[in-house]
Structures are given as structure tokens and as C-alpha cells.
Symmetry: C2
Subunit: 290 residues, 2 copies
């Protein structure tokens, strides 16, 4: 049996933080946008849970979670976070596994609206940051249409967490001065046009790319990315199961085929200015760790 | 006189979090990479402070901050966070204001190495995420060369925080499915090549772009971005002084000229698929708020 500490564990910290904050002088840059407090007035916070690990949520995100009457949560948010919600909070799974959606997006949108209209404080707990590949805009459209008050609590997006896991940097001055976040596939199975990504000095962070490794590799090589540019595959970043793999771009498909259980994973693909200046594609060691 | 609550205010929260975490069953996805504990063994954590507001740091980041012997901090990290360090911690400002660097990067690198070699727990507190436009790679290179142990605690990057302030989304399914993070100017005053950014379905988040508004606008228009595509300028995101401005791309320069005190700011420039499908550049209301 799993024994967990009582739920109000964070409450002293939050209260202390609030007390400390209330004593800050005017003009301090500390700022919390509080949800509406009026009786019967519902409010929805789209909260970034951060990826993988419960301690990568922000203090503000944790506070919203602890104040929620109802929490709609995703597949990839750390389940440990849910233990921090109030004992009376309703916790509702609305996750989307590849090919297996618990609930259509329209239904999620409708539930958020209904809960808020019933006067509840609602947290929509999203893996990473709510603004990046999270379909938050669709939820916001539904709330705007219904006149429901809402806000966003930003979070650590998966690319940042994955780079931290790999102890690497998404930009490096004089090497990679542009960062592109993209997904392996687009809405309605549209194909990414990789040609406009092709520029030395770029890091491409590809979300949900493992199952599309073949088409991504072909697309990038076809667009002019060097075959030997460095790739990191960070699987299950910031969890105890995280693994970091290194390869050249032209070995990415083989690497993903060799390790069938990489999802969720981030691909970091770097084409440095040094690569470009050398005139030839650099040769990296093909190292597959873990 | 400014009265602040005593410094160990967060300690109960951190201890509670630790206790709770220690009781999690094996296989839980909760995971904290703890710094080295051996006596006299120094360790450097590059910690993302998040932008603007003290409550946008992660729980892990706060914990590192509270354990630090010495904190090297940037210009844009919320000063309120420094109050959460230990009373005995040395707090050293190493910020870089535009045209006014407190300290050259090489000296910062050397200080981090020296402090770790002296056996100290070091926090390098960086605005936003340490992996994005933070020169963390240079610090990491110096630490690797000296054999100093280090890690990264990821943070909320400014683009995410700015979008949250504006209650907008960096990607929107079917509208903007690619996000580019870039800076207004490059190392050694090199110019950005904006041509490879030009694709419908893109959000461009431009860091440190206000002073370069003219060249960014000209570069993007020259590359084919629609003159009427929507721009948000988010100034001092997540602080009490935050302001959000809206304009068309071809009005960006005028807007920045009209408001001389926007820095630090993020420019969010969106070229949606709807813009592209409509065949003409959409006309947005030119609204300058606040």
C-alpha cells in the first residue's frame, strides 16, 4: 500500500509565501494575478505542470492546484502532483495517449466551461507550458465564447527540461542563435515543411518526433541539414526513467528503431555555425548511452 | 524601511516537500537530481529564476537557492528571490544591462569555477530558462574544463511568461504550428537572416528586440511576412509594471518609438495559416493598451 503524507503538506509554504508577499513594498516586481474571488464566480487557470517531475511546477502553479475545486489533468503531468490537490477536489483525467484519447477536445472545452459556470475554481493541468503544443487556444476560445474568466500560469516547456536533462543548451552564443520548436506531424496529418528550418546556427527541438523519425530525417536532409549534425534524443526527461541518446542526424531513424519505448521524447537537432564554417559535416561519435 | 518576513520562510515547505517525496514508492516519476553532498565538493547549479515574478521559480529552483553558499545573479531575476537565500549566503551581482556589463562573461565563468573549487554550493541564478539566450554554455565550458560538477535547473522562459501575460498562445493548432525563438541582434552585431523564418503558420518570439524594432520589421517584411500580421509587445512581463501592446507588423517600429521604456520586452509576431489562406494580409485593429 502506498502511504503518502497528508495533502495539506504544502499549505504552510503557500501561506508563508503569501504572507511574505503581502509585506513587500509597493513597486516590488513580485506579482501574482489572483483568480477571481467573488462567490459563485468560477475561474479557470491553465496551469503548466512542467514536464516529468513534480518539483518542476512553479510556486504559482502549485498554489493554483491547491486552491482548485476541480482539476482536469493530462497524461504526461506527474501523477504525484495530483496528491497536492485538496482532498475534496475532483480529479478528472482528460489525457490523450497516441491513438487513444480519453476525451475529444470539444468535450474537454465544454467541461471547463461547465465547471466554471457552476462557480468552481478550475485548474486545467497541462504538461510543460500551456502555450506550447497544448491546445490551450481551443480551450481559451471556448471560455471566451462562454464569458468564462481564465488565465495562464506558465510552465517549464519540455524542450527546456530535456536540454537540462542532457546538460546541454538550446542556444549557444556564436553557435546556435535560433531555436525552433516544432512537432513531428501537423494537424490532419499535414507534413511539416522543413525547408524553412534550414539555416546554420539553429537548434531544432522536435516534440512528439520519435514515431516520425524517418520522415523528419528525410525532410531535414532534403532541406539541407548536414547528415552529421548532432542529435540528442531525450526520453522521459526529468523522470527516473529518463535516458539521453546521441547520434548523427542520418542515424536518427536507426536509433529510434533500435529503442522502441522512447516516448515521450524530445529530439534536439543542432546545426552549429562551426559546422557550417568548417565546410564539411563534422563527424561525431555515435554514442548510445544507457 | 522595508520589512520582510524572516528568511527561512520557505524552509518548512521545502522540508515538507522532501519528506513527502522520500515516502513516494519506487517507480514514481518524481525525481530530483541532488547536487553532490560530499564534504568540500563544490557544485554549481544553473538555475532558471523564471521571468519577472518570484513565484514563477520552480520548487526545485527555490530549493537550490535556499541551499546555496553563494548566488551569482542576473539583472532581470526578481530581486525578491534573493531574500529567500540563506542569511549567510553571499549574493553577487553579475548582471548585464544593455551597454553596461557589471562583469565580462569570462570573469563570471572564472568566479563560478573558483567558488566550486573552494567547496561551495553555488547557484547561478538566471532570468528565464538557463538554456535559452543565457550564455550558460560558456559557463558550462569553463566548468567542464576545470572539472567542476554542475547541472541545470530549467525555468520558465520569457516567451512563455510573456504569452501568459498577454493571455495568448505561442502555438495554436491549425494556425501557428511552429515557434521560433530568436534575438534582435546576434553576436558581434551580426544581422539575423530572417528569410528562413518566413513561413505561414509561425510564431516568432523575439527576445531583446525593442531596440532593433526597425531592422526586425524591415527584415521580416523583406522576407515575406505580411505587413498586417499581428504583433504583441509584452513589456516587463509578469511584473507589476507589465504592459501589453498590439499592432500590425508594419506599425511595430512606430509603436516602439512611441513608448521608449519598453525594455525588457518580448515581441510575439504571428503569421497564421488563416492569414495565408485568406490570400490577403488581414487587417487587425491597432490597439495600444495601458
Amino acid at each position: 500500500m502506498i502511504t503518502l503524507a497528508p495533502k495539506p503538506l504544502f499549505t504552510p509554504l503557500i501561506l508563508a509565501f503569501r504572507a511574505w508577499q503581502a509585506r513587500l513594498p509597493n513597486g516590488s516586481t513580485t506579482h501574482i494575478a489572483a483568480p477571481a474571488k467573488a462567490a459563485k464566480q468560477g475561474f479557470v487557470s491553465l496551469v503548466g505542470a512542467g514536464p516529468g517531475s513534480a518539483d518542476l511546477i512553479t510556486l504559482r502553479g502549485l498554489e493554483r492546484l491547491q486552491a482548485a475545486d476541480v482539476v482536469y489533468y493530462d497524461r504526461l503531468a506527474d501523477p504525484a502532483l495530483l496528491k497536492r490537490a485538496r482532498k475534496t477536489a475532483r480529479l478528472i483525467y482528460v489525457g490523450k495517449a497516441p491513438g487513444c484519447h480519453a476525451m475529444p477536445q470539444a468535450q474537454i472545452n465544454a467541461l471547463l466551461v461547465q465547471s466554471a459556470q457552476a462557480g468552481q475554481q478550475v485548474v486545467r493541468l497541462k504538461c510543460g507550458d500551456p502555450g506550447i503544443f497544448g491546445r490551450g487556444a481551443e480551450e481559451a476560445d471556448a471560455m471566451n465564447a462562454a464569458g468564462v474568466a481564465w488565465d495562464i500560469v506558465p510552465g517549464v516547456t519540455s524542450a527546456c527540461a530535456a536540454a537540462a536533462s542532457a546538460r546541454s543548451f538550446l542556444t549557444e552564443r556564436g553557435q546556435t542563435e535560433r531555436l525552433i520548436l516544432a512537432t513531428g506531424h501537423l494537424r490532419h496529418d499535414g507534413a511539416q515543411d522543413w525547408t524553412t528550418t534550414a539555416q546554420a546556427g539553429t537548434t531544432l527541438a522536435c516534440y512528439m518526433g520519435v514515431s516520425q523519425a524517418a520522415s523528419i530525417t528525410q525532410g531535414l536532409l532534403g532541406a539541407g541539414w548536414p547528415a552529421a549534425c548532432a542529435v540528442q534524443v531525450i526520453s522521459k526527461a526529468q523522470t527516473r526513467e529518463e535516458q539521453v541518446f546521441h547520434c548523427r542526424l542520418d542515424r536518427l531513424e536507426a536509433l529510434c528503431a533500435q529503442h522502441p519505448n522512447l516516448n515521450p521524447a524530445i529530439l534536439l537537432i543542432r546545426w552549429t555555425l562551426t559546422d557550417a564554417a568548417s565546410g564539411v559535416s563534422p563527424v561525431h561519435t555515435i554514442a548510445v548511452s544507457a
